[in-house]
Amino acid sequence: MKTVRSMVLVSNDIKSKANASQEVIDAFNLAIKKLDLADEVAVSTIPEVGTVRSLPLVVIFPEATVYAPVKPEDVPHLVEEHLYKGREVPDLKVKDADTLRKVAWLTQRKGTLPAENKIVLKNVGLIDPESIDEFFAYEGGQAFATALQMTPELVVEVIKASGLRGRGGAGFPAGIKWDSVRRTPGKKKYVICNADESEPGTFKDRIIMEGDPFTIIEAMLIAGYAVGADEGYIYIRGEYQLALERVQKAIQQAREYGVLGKDIFGSGFDFDLHIHAGAGAYICGEETALLESIEGGRGEPRVKPPYPTTSGLWAMPTLINNVETFANIPPIILNGADWFKSFGTPSSPGTKVYTILGNVNNTGLIEVPMGITLREVINIYGKGTKGGQFKFAQTGGSSGSIIPAALQDTPMDFDSFRKVGVALGSGALLICNDSNCIVDSVRVLTRFFQEECCGKCVPCRVGTDQAWKVLTDISEGRGKIEDIAQLEWLCKGMEEFSNCGLGQTAGTPIKNMLDHFRAEVEAHIKLGVCPTGVCPMS
């Protein structure tokens, strides 16, 4: 696997453009191509750097060296010295301390890369997702073959040592889950891939399944071997028609090649996979609701414990992981735990796939190391906010948090986010500018929970409905000052007494709103005014 080792960022705001930043970018691309470094060095732009004097500005990672101002004619020398020979060019380094201070948000990343090194998406867009032959041509199957040479215990040890944490939202260490299923005795065990991705704004799993379904099958084979399961299910959201077709085809081809079935590769290991198509219910992404749904019932979450690792599908020990978690497994087995830990942060190693959406110039899917900051994502990948200043971001669909602009320099990993009281969620980054009203946005989020609540337990069923009504009242000008206390009380009740994750996190957006945007909520109530002019207020 080829990895990017350096990344060049060139400022490209209006003032930089006036100072030939485009020519600088072109010169970088040309010089990098000339020295045959295109596979190792990524070039990107930053559309906003603030009021910096020396422009255009160039930052080269992982050293985080800042060069400014850079002229197009400096570039060939710079590339040859810094990127080819590995020597900084002192003459071109930024001289004024003010500039250096203002780009501190970029240079604090010293030692790591903000670049896209693909682990999860390595095959997506590269191979034909309907051809297992192409998959084999790109290292496909090698991780499974490697795993078969190891003992199941050792496979689990490698996953544990890698520090991989579940990518479905909760961030539970994958290795511990695997170990627990492996250790639980049982005549029959199951491996399940949770592909019921329905968090608003998240579609990473869809892209993985549509682009590289074989990797998921390979990962599930490895998991089956490691925990001692011989049967697996992929629970795919019913709305994902193309993903369903591609995974179905992939399973068929795998069966034809003897990768699924009895005595795989003559190893004595049996494993087969089934697809279960969802039928339109967000709650089925909750692991025990998903089990109920496969068993043919209403998708209502079970009471935990017992956890699925000890009593899951048909009361058998069951391993359930998210699509993205599984997609990390083959590269870890192939390249080792230490390689994996070289990406991301010590407590959250690896990369994370995010969908960037909303009011940014560039929307779509990115894979970046864990620990990147929101400001970097918006500026380097989103290419700046569109139509106004950045106001807040919503992470991980609805069960994520609302991150106010003040927290945009917090590293995005499980622990750093927990420390400041927000959540990473499932990998959506909905960027909202200052033309969005916080009350209106939270009302829409709460409406989602009210709609998707399964109705099994009272705190969630009544709480989401009440909260939605209160928020609607506030947004329509009928808010009372007691409503704020009422919302706080509802959130506390839902969080403490709900049966499953949906109810427990349904109040998070409301809590974040009251923590960071209380003045705006009070303006709706006390002044009868929506400061952004979004709410009807009549």
Binding site: E197, S198, E199, P200, G201, T202, F203, R206, R237, G238, E239, Y240, Q241, H276, A277, G278, A279, G280, A281, Y282, S293, I294, E295, G296, G297, R298, G299, E300, T355, L357, G358, N359, T363, G364, L365, Q394, G397, S398, A428, L430, C432, N436, S441, V444, L445, R447, F448, E451, E452, C454
Partner: protein, 163 residues
């Protein structure tokens, strides 16, 4: 059949046959209930009370449970719908990029409120949670086809394509 009050009209032999055809080759156990109901929805567009009754009869799963499962899931409708079903995504990613205006325009164009079917049974308008194509928001799905980057102005052109 008289003893079942949910049936407003009796099931016909035709329906009985159609459903046994759908059930052919499928194990009639609980695990397959959702796939069976999926197939019936594909065939008829919705699951009528007669169809629910027949599924229960032919699989020996209690009618109450068949009903309870069918009504839990969005994609297993138990009420008749129009020839074309429009799903409007009302989640936040579509909402912040102009979804509100698109819904207003859609309601005006079709003269329908979410949840309604128009009298000539051409359109059913429903709202839905995220469809997972957020980078093209605002998004609607018509009969499973996704239309993205919508504006109030681009709607009539798209609706015209459906007869």
């Amino acid at each position: 059949m008289e003893e079942n009050p949910t049936l407003t009209k009796p099931t016909t032999d035709d329906l009985k046959q159609e459903i046994s055809l759908i059930l052919q080759g499928i194990n009639k156990d609980r695990e397959n209930l959702i796939p069976i109901l999926h197939k019936i929805t594909l065939r008829f567009g919705y699951i009528s009370s007669q169809a629910l009754y027949e599924v229960s009869e032919q699989t020996a799963i209690p009618l109450s449970e068949v009903f309870s499962v069918a009504t839990f899931y969005r994609m297993l409708p138990t009420e008749e719908r129009g020839r074309h079903v429009i799903l409007f995504c009302e989640s936040l990613p579509c909402h912040v990029v102009g979804g509100r205006e698109v819904l207003q325009a859609l309601k005006a164009e079709l003269q329908l409120e979410p949840g309604q079917t128009n009298p000539d049974k051409k359109w059913t308008l429903l709202t839905t949670s995220c469809l997972g194509v957020c980078n093209f928001g605002p998004v609607i799905s018509i009969d499973g086809n996704i239309h993205g980057n919508l504006t109030p102005e681009s709607l009539p052109e798209i609706l015209k394509k459906y007869e």
